[in-house]
């Protein structure tokens, strides 16, 4: 009994991340990739896409919670990390981040105007780098690479393994996504 209570006292590791951007930028796939990577590293994971009466081309977001223990709520009212792929996402989510949290901004298409001093802002020119790689669609994977380097939430190698599985039926896409991931990872 005593032992059981002691384990309760240990502060659990619970990290919540919100990915947000335009519909089509691959923000939901970023969340899905992270969830699957965390799952294969043996963590508890929940993934909750935002749904609603969204308009086509409007904003999309998803929340990923990763923990060593059972996850109480998949909703994040104050996330540890926010990835903002466009301006509206930056405006909407920057005030929700926990003090000391990280804010990733796709600086290629977003003015990094941040009104808080208690969070770390990481500017990633994701769209530009993806453009250089001649694959503008993989801006999300560039960002994912930078995200995994800065947060250490999951290993880059796990993310690459997940990619291989995601594109099982479209093998030609594995290489370019891998390149994008690594390019983002090597930024920092």
């Amino acid at each position: 009994m005593l032992l059981e209570q002691k384990t309760v006292l240990v502060k659990e590791m619970l990290i919540k991340t919100i990915f947000a951007g335009f519909g089509g930028q691959g923000v939901l796939s970023m969340g899905l990739n992270l969830s699957q990577a965390a799952m294969s590293e043996g963590k508890h994971v929940t993934y909750l896409p935002s749904y609603g009466a969204e308009v086509r081309g409007g904003t999309a977001n998803c929340t990923v919670a990763i923990s060593d223990e059972e996850i109480a709520s998949p909703v994040a009212s104050s996330p540890d990390f926010v990835v903002a792929m466009n301006q509206p996402s930056l405006v909407r989510f920057q005030n929700q981040i926990q003090s000391g949290g990280l804010l990733f901004i796709n600086s290629s298409i977003t003015e990094p105007v941040v009104s808080r001093g208690d969070i770390e802002v990481i500017e990633v020119p994701a769209s530009d780098i993806a453009e250089e790689l001649k694959s503008p669609k993989s801006a999300n994977m560039v960002m994912m690479g930078a995200f995994s380097k800065k947060t250490n939430l999951v290993l880059l190698s796990t993310l690459i393994e997940v990619l291989k599985n995601t594109f099982k039926t479209k093998k030609m896409l594995i290489d370019i996504n891998k390149k994008a991931l690594t390019a983002g990872y090597d930024l920092f």
């Binding site: 009994m1 209570q5 309760v8 006292l9 502060k11 659990e12 899905l32 969830s35 799952m39 508890h44 994971v45 929940t46 993934y47 909750l48 896409p49 749904y51 609603g52 009466a53 223990e69 059972e70 996850i71 109480a72 709520s73 998949p74 909703v75 009212s77």
Partner: protein, 353 residues
């Protein structure tokens, strides 16, 4: 896997042969999953009906034909199905009805809520009947309870409701399926498939003789007593030494659990009681808890519905408080922790040294 997809896959693995649906958020992924996966299976059919009413009546027909059948919807759509559910209950037909509930009343909101507790646990439609109500609180449990729902429906010849909510249906969690799809689809022996070589059977919901109907009601309620005795399920969490027990079901229970973990870390002796079957409700176990715990907090994502059952179980022996967020607002674990902490000190409950 999405919660909604998990229900679909679990249903297929339980031998569900016919699914009838009509789109409504937040359960659309389930209909989509069945459209893609059930219709591909040999001997199975998926039909998108022209309305919720016709979907439940297709279930009625499929159940008469002896196959495992399911429909799903969300709150306003489930209201429309009530007539059919009452008929299923009257004819003693098994069926599985999934409610991925949302905010109400009226068309409400598309966000997760638990305001369909009364409707689910009190029968829902007209007449003196009950349905078994299962309340999962994780994606894994959505799958497990879907399988159990089909077994219960067949065993007791009763409609079974799975009461989930928009959060569980939309979220993705790792899960394992414990069963493979059966190689042969189950067909009940009492199916109406032609009376060749036997006397005909009549299944009906109307009689002009009240005494005959009274006998049906008696027989239904004898079976309900048996279900109460055999099938009541719940989960308890850290209740042995708890001064305060939080009673919550479904999504609210997992939020409460997070709050309780942190309350324990602060030295508050808090536990949780989670009914898994909302009907039959675990009155007895809660009654037992009144001997060890000082205070109950009922926490629901509505204005207080399950609290009535908790009151029936506690019978005035202990005080009960309530905290709820209606309309599709999803409370956070830290919000619930604040409620627990305030209540704990207000009531002068003992902490650990």
């Amino acid at each position: 896997m999405y919660g909604n997809a998990a229900i679909g896959e679990a249903a297929i693995r339980a031998g569900c042969q016919c699914y009838f649906g009509y789109p409504i958020t937040p359960q659309n992924e389930l209909t989509e999953y069945m459209a893609t996966n059930l219709s591909r299976r040999k001997g199975c059919s998926f039909v998108q009906a022209e309305s919720e009413v016709s979907a439940i009546n297709m279930v009625y027909g499929a159940s008469l034909a002896g196959v495992r059948t399911m429909t799903s919807s969300s709150s306003p759509g489930i209201s429309l199905k009530q007539e059919g559910i009452s008929y299923l209950a009257a004819c003693e037909l098994p069926a599985v009805i999934v409610n991925i509930s949302r905010g109400g009343p009226g068309l409400g909101s598309i966000s997760a809520a638990q305001s369909d507790y009364f409707q689910s646990t009190r029968g829902g439609g007209h007449g003196d009947y009950r349905t078994i109500v299962l309340a999962p609180s994780s994606v894994q449990e959505l799958a497990d309870l879907t399988h159990r729902a089909f077994d219960l429906a067949d065993r007791y010849r009763i409609p079974v409701i799975i009461l989930g909510d928009g959060m569980l249906g939309q979220m993705m969690e790792p899960l394992e399926f414990k069963y493979d799809a059966p190689s042969e689809l189950p067909v009940r022996s009492d199916a109406l498939r032609g009376a060749k070589g036997r006397p005909s059977r009549i299944v009906k919901t109307f009689t002009s003789r009240p005494t005959e109907l009274e006998e049906l009601n008696w027989s239904l309620f004898r079976r309900y007593r048996l279900i109460e005795k055999e099938e009541t399920t719940y989960e308890i969490y850290l209740v042995e030494d708890a001064e305060l027990v939080v009673v919550a079901f479904g999504a609210a229970a997992r939020i409460a659990k997070g709050a309780i973990r942190n309350a324990r870390a602060n030295g508050l002796k808090v536990g949780m009681f989670r009914p898994i079957t909302l009907w039959p409700f675990p009155y007895e176990k809660i009654s037992e808890l009144t001997q060890t715990t000082k205070h109950f907090l009922v926490f629901e994502m509505n204005m207080g519905q399950m609290i009535e059952d908790v009151k029936l179980a506690v019978e005035g022996k202990r005080e009960i408080s309530f905290y709820g967020r209606p309309g599709g607002v999803i409370p956070t674990p830290s919000e619930v922790l604040r409620v627990i902490t305030r209540l704990y000190y207000q009531k002068g409950l003992k902490t650990e040294k």
